[in-house]
C-alpha cells in the first residue's frame, strides 16, 4: 500500500508538468549577427502540391537572414515526374538525383516532400527536416563558431559561354577530418507550371522557381579540399576553368555559383558561398 501511495504522488507530480499556454505566438524579431553562412536545401518537385509552402518558408527565411543564408532548391524524386499536358519540362539533374538517392544519397524523397536539410546537420530530430524546423536550425547554425572564410571569383565569357571559377578558403581553426569542396550551378526566375494545393485550381502555370539546382561543376560530391587535417590559417585555392555553360537551356543572367566545404565523413557543411555568374 505504501508503494502505491508513493506511486500516486509521483503521478500527481506528473500532472503538475501540465502545459504551456501561448497567448502571443509571434516573437519580437531577433537579429542574429554572424559571420557564418548557412546552406538550406529544399527538396521539391513541380507536381508536389505542398512544396510551394516550403518554398515560401525559404523566401521568408532568405528575407530575414539576407546574405547569411544560401538556398538551393533540389528537384528530385517522385513528384518531378512528367505528365502531359502541364508538366512537360524536366527540372531534375544528375547532382540532385544523386543527393536525393536512397542509397548513397540522403534519401529525402523517400521520407516525403517537401523536406530539407540545413547544413546537412542533425538538429536533434534528424538530418531530414520539415520546413517548420528550418528556422530554428538556421538560427542555431548561425550561432555556431565560424570555421573558415571563403571567396568566390567568377569569370564568364559571354561569347564562348565558358565559366572560370576560383574558390579560396582560409581556415580560422584547425579541423581534424577530411574536407571536400562542392561547386554547383543554380538558376533563379525560371517560369513553369507548379502544383500548389493552396490555390484553386491547383496548377499554377507561371510559377517562378528560385534557387533551382542545375548542374555540378565538379560532380555530385565535389573534390577533396585537402587530404591532410587542416590547421589554423591554412589556405586552399581550387580553380575550375572553361566550364561549358549550356546557354540554350539556362539564362546566364540568372545563374549563380554556390560553393561549399563539407566534412567528407559526416557530410556536414562547414561554410558556403554564393556569387552571381554575370554581375
Amino acid at each position: 500500500m505504501k508503494i502505491s501511495l508513493i506511486l500516486i504522488s509521483i503521478l500527481v507530480c506528473f500532472g503538475c508538468v501540465s502545459c504551456d499556454k501561448v497567448n502571443n505566438p509571434i516573437q519580437s524579431e531577433q537579429i542574429i549577427v554572424s559571420n557564418r553562412k548557412v546552406l538550406l536545401e529544399d527538396y521539391t518537385g513541380h507536381q508536389c502540391g505542398n512544396c510551394p509552402n516550403a518554398a515560401r518558408t525559404a523566401e521568408q527565411l532568405s528575407a530575414q537572414y539576407g546574405a547569411n543564408l544560401v538556398v538551393i532548391a533540389v528537384h528530385a524524386g517522385f513528384f518531378t515526374k512528367l505528365n502531359a499536358p502541364d508538366f512537360v519540362t524536366s527540372y531534375t539533374c544528375q547532382v540532385g538525383n544523386d543527393w536525393d538517392a536512397a542509397s548513397g544519397g540522403f534519401g529525402i524523397s523517400s521520407a516525403g516532400n517537401p523536406n530539407g536539410m540545413v547544413n546537412r546537420k542533425d538538429n536533434g530530430s534528424g538530418l531530414i527536416q520539415k520546413e517548420t524546423k528550418w528556422g530554428s536550425s538556421i538560427a542555431k547554425a548561425l550561432q555556431a563558431p565560424d570555421l573558415c572564410d571563403m571567396w568566390l571569383t567568377l569569370n564568364y565569357n559571354t561569347i564562348s559561354n565558358t565559366l572560370n571559377t576560383t574558390v579560396k578558403t582560409k581556415f580560422k581553426k584547425t579541423y581534424g577530418s577530411n574536407t571536400k569542396l562542392s561547386v554547383v550551378l543554380t538558376e533563379d526566375s525560371i517560369i513553369g507550371p507548379q502544383k500548389d494545393y493552396t490555390q484553386n485550381p491547383d496548377v499554377i502555370t507561371n510559377y517562378v522557381f528560385m534557387h533551382m539546382l542545375r548542374e555540378g561543376i565538379n560532380g555530385s560530391w565535389g573534390d577533396p579540399l585537402k587530404y591532410a587535417p587542416i590547421k589554423y590559417a591554412d589556405s586552399v585555392t581550387l580553380s575550375y576553368n572553361n566550364f561549358q555553360v549550356n546557354a540554350v537551356k539556362y539564362k546566364p543572367n540568372n545563374l549563380y555559383v554556390v560553393a561549399f566545404v563539407y566534412d567528407a565523413t559526416t557530410k556536414e557543411i562547414l561554410e558556403v558561398e554564393k556569387a552571381k555568374v554575370i554581375k
Partner: protein
C-alpha cells in the same frame, strides 16, 4: 544523449547479468510451476527488382533489397526481458530510407508481481482505446513508435489499475527529440464493489488519462509551447451481448507542421486546441448482431516532435470508423482518419440464417450489411490576423465536404461438404484529394467505385482444395488520372494443407490509355511447416501512393522475385 546512452547500456548490463544467472540456478532448482521460457521469431523479406518502365517500376541500383527482424523474449518467473534486431540492406522500395543498416532497435527488462509491474527499455502501451496514447509495433508497415523509457503499473486495490510512464519515442535507429510523459487510471466498478456487485450483470469500467510532451522551442520567429498536455476520459459499459465504449480527449495548443498553413504567402501555425471523441456500441445475440461506431476528430495530430510527419513519432492512435477490407479490390482505395478534422461513423448488421431454413440451407448462411462514411469538419475562418493564433474554428452542428463512404453486403455460404463461397458487393466513394494529398485543391476527381467479389473454395478431398477468386472494380473510364476499371482473377491450389501455389492476374482493362491496358501477373507459392513459413512470388505489383498529413510517399510499382520467410520458436 549521454543520459540515454547510459540508460541503454545499463539496461543491457542488467539484462545480460540476469540472464547469465539462469544456467547456474538451473542445476539446483527443481521443476516448478514457475514460467521459464525463451521464445523468439524471425521474419525476412527480400525482393529482386527488375526495372519496368511501362508499369513505372524504377531501376534499383542494389538490384536486391531486404527487410529483416528477429525478436527474442526471455521469461523467468516474474522477470522478463527481450530484444529485437532489425536489418535493412537496403530498405525495400516504398519505405523511408532512414531505415538504413542494422542494429538493436528494441530491448527491455520487466519485473511484475501482484502489486507492481515495472518495465525499463522499449515499451508498448495503450491508454484506453489509444486516442490519447498508443505505442505500437507493426513490422509490415515499419511502424514502431515504442517509448524508450520507464513504465510502472500498479494494482493497489482490486479493480484499480494505475499506470505511469516517461520516455522518448523510437525514430528509425534513434529516438525522437520530445519527451513523453503520461499517467492513466482505470477503475472496474464491479470489482471494487466485489461482494455487493457480484450479482450485478452490468459491468462498468471508467478511466482517465493525462499525457504531456516536452520539446524545446528553438524557433526564432514563433513562441511555441514547450509542454503540450492532453487529457481524456473513457467509459465502458457491458452487459451480456451489449457493449458500449466511449472515449473523449482534449489537447492544449499544439502548433505543429500538421496544422501549419499559409496565409497571404506566409506560413503560420494554428494555436487552437484539439479534441477527439470516439464511441462504439454493439448488441449481439446468437445469430444476430448490430454495431454502430461514431467519431469526431479535430486538430488531433499528436506527436512527440512537432515537425514529424507521416507515421513518425505519433503519440496517439485515431482509429478509422470504416471497415478494413482484405480482398484486393475493396481495399484498393483504403481510408485513413484525417487528424486535421473529420466526422465519421459506421453501422453494421450481421445475421446468420440457421441450418435447415430456406435461405440457410443445410449448413447455414452468414450475411453482413455495413455502411460507413466520413466527412470533413465545417471550418470557419477566423480573422485574427494580428496574431494568427487560431486561424479557424469548427462547427459542431454541421459537417464539411464528404471524404469517404463504403456500403457493402457480404454473404458467406457453404453449399455442400466440399463447396463454400463468399459473395460481396461494395459501393465506395473516395475523395482522392483529401485522403491521398491532404488538400481539397489537389486537382483529382472524386472516385466512385462499384466492386464485386466472388470467392469459391472447392475442397476436393480432405486437406486439398482449390480456390477461385474473381473481382471486379468498376470506375469512370474517362478519368485519366485514376486509371479506370480493373478486373482480377486468382486461382489458388492447396494440394496438401502446408503447400500453396497461386496465380493472380490484375488487369487494368479500363485504363484510358490504350498502351497501359496492362496485365499484372503474379505467381506465388508457399510452404508451411508448423511455425515456419516460406513463400515466393514472381511478377508485377502495381504502384500505390501513401499519404498522411499533407506529406506523400510513393510506393512504386515493382516487377521481380520476392521471398518471405517467417519463423517462430
Amino acid at each position: 544523449m549521454t543520459l540515454s546512452r547510459f540508460f541503454k547500456s545499463s539496461v543491457t548490463a542488467a539484462f545480460l547479468f540476469l540472464i547469465s544467472l539462469k544456467p547456474f540456478k538451473g542445476f539446483t532448482q527443481n521443476v516448478s510451476d514457475e514460467i521459464n521460457s525463451i521464445h523468439g521469431n524471425f521474419q525476412i523479406d527480400a525482393q529482386y527488382y527488375n526495372a519496368d518502365s511501362l508499369i513505372g517500376a524504377p531501376k534499383v541500383p542494389e538490384k536486391m533489397l531486404s527487410n529483416a527482424f528477429g525478436n527474442i523474449n526471455y521469461q523467468k518467473g516474474k522477470f522478463s526481458a527481450g530484444m529485437r534486431y532489425e536489418a535493412y540492406n537496403n530498405v525495400m522500395q516504398g519505405f523511408d530510407a532512414r531505415y538504413k543498416g542494422q542494429g538493436i532497435t528494441n530491448r527491455y527488462a520487466r519485473y511484475q508481481d501482484k502489486l507492481l509491474d515495472i518495465t525499463i527499455g522499449n515499451i508498448y502501451e495503450q491508454f484506453g482505446g489509444g486516442l490519447i496514447l498508443r505505442t505500437y509495433y507493426e513490422p509490415g508497415l515499419l511502424y514502431d513508435n515504442s517509448l524508450d523509457g520507464i513504465r510502472v503499473i500498479s494494482n493497489p486495490y482490486k479493480g484499480i489499475t494505475l499506470k505511469g510512464l516517461v520516455g522518448k519515442q523510437r525514430s528509425f535507429f534513434t529516438v525522437g527529440q520530445g519527451i513523453v510523459r503520461g499517467v492513466d487510471g482505470e477503475v472496474n466498478i464491479n470489482e471494487i464493489l466485489d461482494s455487493l456487485a457480484k450479482n450485478i450483470k452490468t459491468k462498468v469500467i471508467v478511466g482517465g488519462s493525462f499525457v504531456s510532451k516536452f520539446q524545446i522551442d528553438e524557433d526564432p520567429h514563433f513562441n511555441l509551447p514547450q509542454n503540450v498536455g492532453a487529457y481524456g476520459g473513457r467509459l465502458n459499459v457491458i452487459r451480456d451481448g451489449f457493449n458500449f465504449f466511449g472515449e473523449y480527449v482534449y489537447k492544449e495548443n499544439d502548433p505543429s507542421v500538421a496544422n501549419a498553413s499559409s496565409v497571404e504567402g506566409k506560413n503560420y501555425y494554428s494555436y487552437r486546441h484539439g479534441e477527439a471523441a470516439f464511441m462504439s456500441m454493439s448488441l449481439a445475440a446468437k445469430g444476430i448482431s448490430f454495431m454502430i461506431q461514431g467519431k469526431r476528430v479535430d486538430n488531433m495530430s499528436f506527436r512527440s516532435d512537432r515537425d514529424a510527419t507521416l507515421q513518425n513519432l505519433l503519440i496517439n492512435y485515431l482509429p478509422a470508423t470504416t471497415r478494413q477490407h482484405t480482398y484486393l479490390m475493396p481495399a484498393y482505395s483504403p481510408y485513413a482518419t484525417q487528424p486535421k478534422g473529420e466526422v465519421g461513423g459506421m453501422a453494421e448488421m450481421q445475421y446468420k440464417f440457421a441450418k435447415g431454413t430456406l435461405l440457410g440451407g443445410k449448413y447455414g448462411m452468414d450475411i453482413t450489411l455495413n455502411a460507413s462514411m466520413a466527412n470533413g469538419l465545417k471550418v470557419i475562418g477566423v480573422n485574427d490576423s494580428s496574431s494568427y493564433s487560431t486561424l479557424y474554428t469548427t462547427n459542431y452542428s454541421d459537417v464539411g465536404e464528404q471524404y469517404y463512404h463504403d456500403y457493402f453486403i457480404e454473404i458467406n455460404r457453404k453449399f455442400s461438404k466440399k463447396i463454400k463461397g463468399t459473395l460481396m458487393y461494395a459501393n465506395q466513394f473516395y475523395n482522392k484529394n483529401i485522403v491521398q494529398y491532404g488538400s481539397p485543391n489537389a486537382g483529382y476527381k472524386n472516385i466512385v467505385s462499384n466492386i464485386i467479389v466472388v470467392d469459391l473454395t472447392y475442397k476436393y478431398k480432405p486437406g486439398s482444395a482449390i480456390r477461385f477468386e474473381t473481382q471486379w472494380l468498376g470506375r469512370d473510364n474517362k478519368d485519366t488520372l485514376n486509371l479506370g476499371s480493373w478486373a482480377s482473377e486468382l486461382i489458388e491450389w492447396t494440394p496438401t494443407s502446408n503447400i500453396f501455389v497461386a496465380v493472380l492476374d490484375q488487369y487494368n482493362y479500363g485504363n484510358p490509355v490504350e498502351s497501359l491496358k496492362l496485365h499484372y501477373f503474379l505467381v506465388s507459392a508457399g510452404y508451411t511447416s508448423g511455425p515456419h513459413r516460406i513463400s515466393f512470388s514472381y511478377g508485377k505489383q502495381r504502384a500505390g501512393i501513401f499519404c498522411v498529413g499533407g506529406v506523400c510517399r510513393n510506393v512504386p510499382a515493382s516487377n521481380g522475385l520476392a521471398v518471405s520467410i517467417t519463423s517462430s520458436f
